[in-house]
Amino acid sequence: MLPLKNTRFALLTALVALSATAASAQMLINGAGATFPQQIYTKWFDEYQKIDPSVRFNYQGIGSGGGQKQILAETVDFGASDGPMSDENLAKAPRTLWHIPTVAGGVAVSYNVEGNPQINLDGPTLAAIFLGTITKWNDPAIASQNPDVKLPAADIVVVHRSDGSGTSFIFTDYLSSVSPDWKQKVGKGTSVSWPVGLGGKGNAGVAGQVKQTPGAIGYVELAYAHQNKLPFATMKNASGTYTAPTLDSVTAALAAATIPEDFRFSMVNSPGAAAYPICGATWLLVYAEQKDHVKGEKLVQFLKWAYSEGEKDAAGLDYAPLPDAVIKRALDRVQSIKY
């Protein structure tokens, strides 16, 4: 009975395997990494499939950490990360590994204050709230920026992401850039040691806790805040204007940011007049020299398409498209990929 079953099973497996190879005359290009851009990447791959049916992209949103690990180990054809790779990790790459920015996103500061007023905040105040040095909503530091708002004497309950995330990276990157105190005591990262506050899992966890807890303040991805109609603070940018987080103000921030040759840039607290200060880009990680000629060619063709056509899909999915000048530079980089 048993050996017979085994043989049958083996036969079946062999058959399945055979039919699978027969069906995939199509080329498969694998990628893995950041979850933040997963929605737009999936859309790009779907659309690109219609343009070039001979290639299929498979993207797994396993997190930026996983994306960096897998591209370093060359188990995927491209990686993706919400934060630029550290020098230490980049040094582990067997060959030159390039960062290619795709889209940008903002981080909205949401809150739960009685009466749901529109609140203005500047960077140092936000940092002090998250450091736990400002603990009441009617603190002079907040009140002076909001003369028309009647702020309650309620305690501030800080809510942050508990899971490691690109959103936390952008947020802490911003706080580090506006507050020396934050930079020294906490620093920036996908997870940090938060001085105060409660941790919520994912955007939904943070938004849920902010919504449920009177006096709470937290940060969520801009797309999530828009889709769920959460109240958000207008943030004072580097040129002194209070700006709301919108796709335009994020793109404006990117246009005014200084972008180095290797594209590992931070765009928080960007100097543009219309720029929203808390935002960041997301990157694809691609080797400068592709090992597989055909795959490399297809990947480059796809990336060219993504910059010319794909970027137009971004706004519809609440991602901020790259400004033209950045697209041009990124395209130059893509064209110099060797395969």
Binding site: M1, L2, T35, I62, G63, S64, G65, G66, Q68, K69, G83, M85, S86, E88, N89, D155, V157, S162, D163, G164, S165, G166, V186, G187, K188, G189, T190, S191, V192, S193, W194, G197, L198, G199, G200, K201, G205, G208, Q209, Q212, T213
Partner: protein, 320 residues
């Protein structure tokens, strides 16, 4: 078995010992696989955490610092959170589960038993994330506005019920885990109580015992070891519970005497931070947390076995 002449069950060959032989090895193989699996999990965790082990040594176990930016890691708040939330859950779930089981086997009218059993089994089928969402949106607001306020007012002199009330807290996690382990504790307790021979009950009644006395003398003392085993199985589930706990515990690596304060568990921090861990030491420390969790589970089980051994009272049923 192979010698039994039968026209209904077509055996491969009369007199063949093959089925017996095969069955024995398949069964033995399955049992061995479990042992191999545990050893392999332990080995893999050890290999993954070697870097952190050599870097922090035993200090990892009692350091309270968890700072991915500075690359400094310690497990103490997570160990504390795991143990406290699980014990709270047991404190709530064991009395409830055993009482439900007693009601179902000894007291409830026959018509009621099946529907209640079905309801409990359905509770076991609810996915973890649903409990978490329910915790965030239903349980926590209620706890924050009612139960916690009440506890603070009347028991606020205890350090357990002091400090600010956020809702998300160690106690909220304990309550959610309790609900999640209730089905396993109830159904095992019920099976154990059902297997207490009726002779026991009849003998006690014959001596003139009341219903309560019968329960105490004849049933519970007989089933004690088995009920303890049910609690241990529940504890095993509680230690590893991740998703729902992450959503209600507040995810703050701190050790606080207050049950209103947020906490963090080993399983939660691994689930939260594994995907975005980029530095080697960070990843390795998360692996070591997994190793610690495995260690905690083994220690807790070993302690339970020792307690079980020292327990008097009989009963043929031994869970574990």
């Amino acid at each position: 078995m192979s010698k039994t002449p039968s026209s209904t069950s077509p055996l491969p060959e009369p007199g063949s010992r093959f089925p017996d032989f095969a069955f024995k090895w398949v069964a033995a193989g399955a049992a061995t696989m479990i042992v191999i699996l545990i050893v392999m999990v332990g080995w893999q965790l050890y290999m993954g955490s070697r870097l952190a082990l050599s870097h922090f040594g035993f200090g990892f176990l009692w350091s309270s610092e968890w700072d991915p930016v500075q690359d400094k890691y310690g497990a103490l708040p997570f160990i504390f959170g795991t143990l406290v939330s699980s014990l709270l859950a047991l404190l709530i779930a064991v009395p409830l589960g055993v009482a439900t089981a007693i009601f179902l086997t000894e007291l409830a009218p026959l018509r009621l038993r099946q529907p209640i059993v079905m309801a409990i089994e359905m509770l076991a089928a609810v996915p973890s994330v649903i409990f978490g969402l329910w915790g965030i949106f239903v349980l926590i607001p209620w706890l924050r506005d009612h139960l916690f306020v009440w506890l603070k007012r009347y028991f606020g002199f205890l350090p357990l019920f002091q400090g600010p009330i956020y809702g998300v807290s160690m106690l909220a996690a304990g309550i959610v885990i309790a609900i999640m382990i209730l089905p396993i504790i109830t159904s095992i307790s019920r099976e154990i109580l059902r297997s207490v021979p009726n002779l026991q009950r009849e003998a006690a009644y014959a001596l003139g015992a009341t219903r309560w006395e019968v329960l105490k003398i004849a049933v519970l003392s007989y089933a004690r070891r088995g009920l303890f085993g049910a609690a241990v199985l529940g504890l095993g589930r509680a230690l590893g519970e991740t998703m729902a706990v992450t959503m209600v515990i507040g995810n703050r690596p701190q050790i606080s005497a207050s049950l209103f304060a947020p906490g963090y568990t080993l399983a939660s921090v691994i689930a939260n931070e594994f995907t975005e861990a980029t530095s080697d030491l960070y990843l390795s420390s998360l692996f070591e947390l997994g190793l610690v969790l495995l260690g905690v589970a083994i220690l807790v089980n070993a302690a339970a076995q020792l307690m079980l051994k020292s327990m008097t009272g009989s009963g043929p049923i031994k869970v574990n």
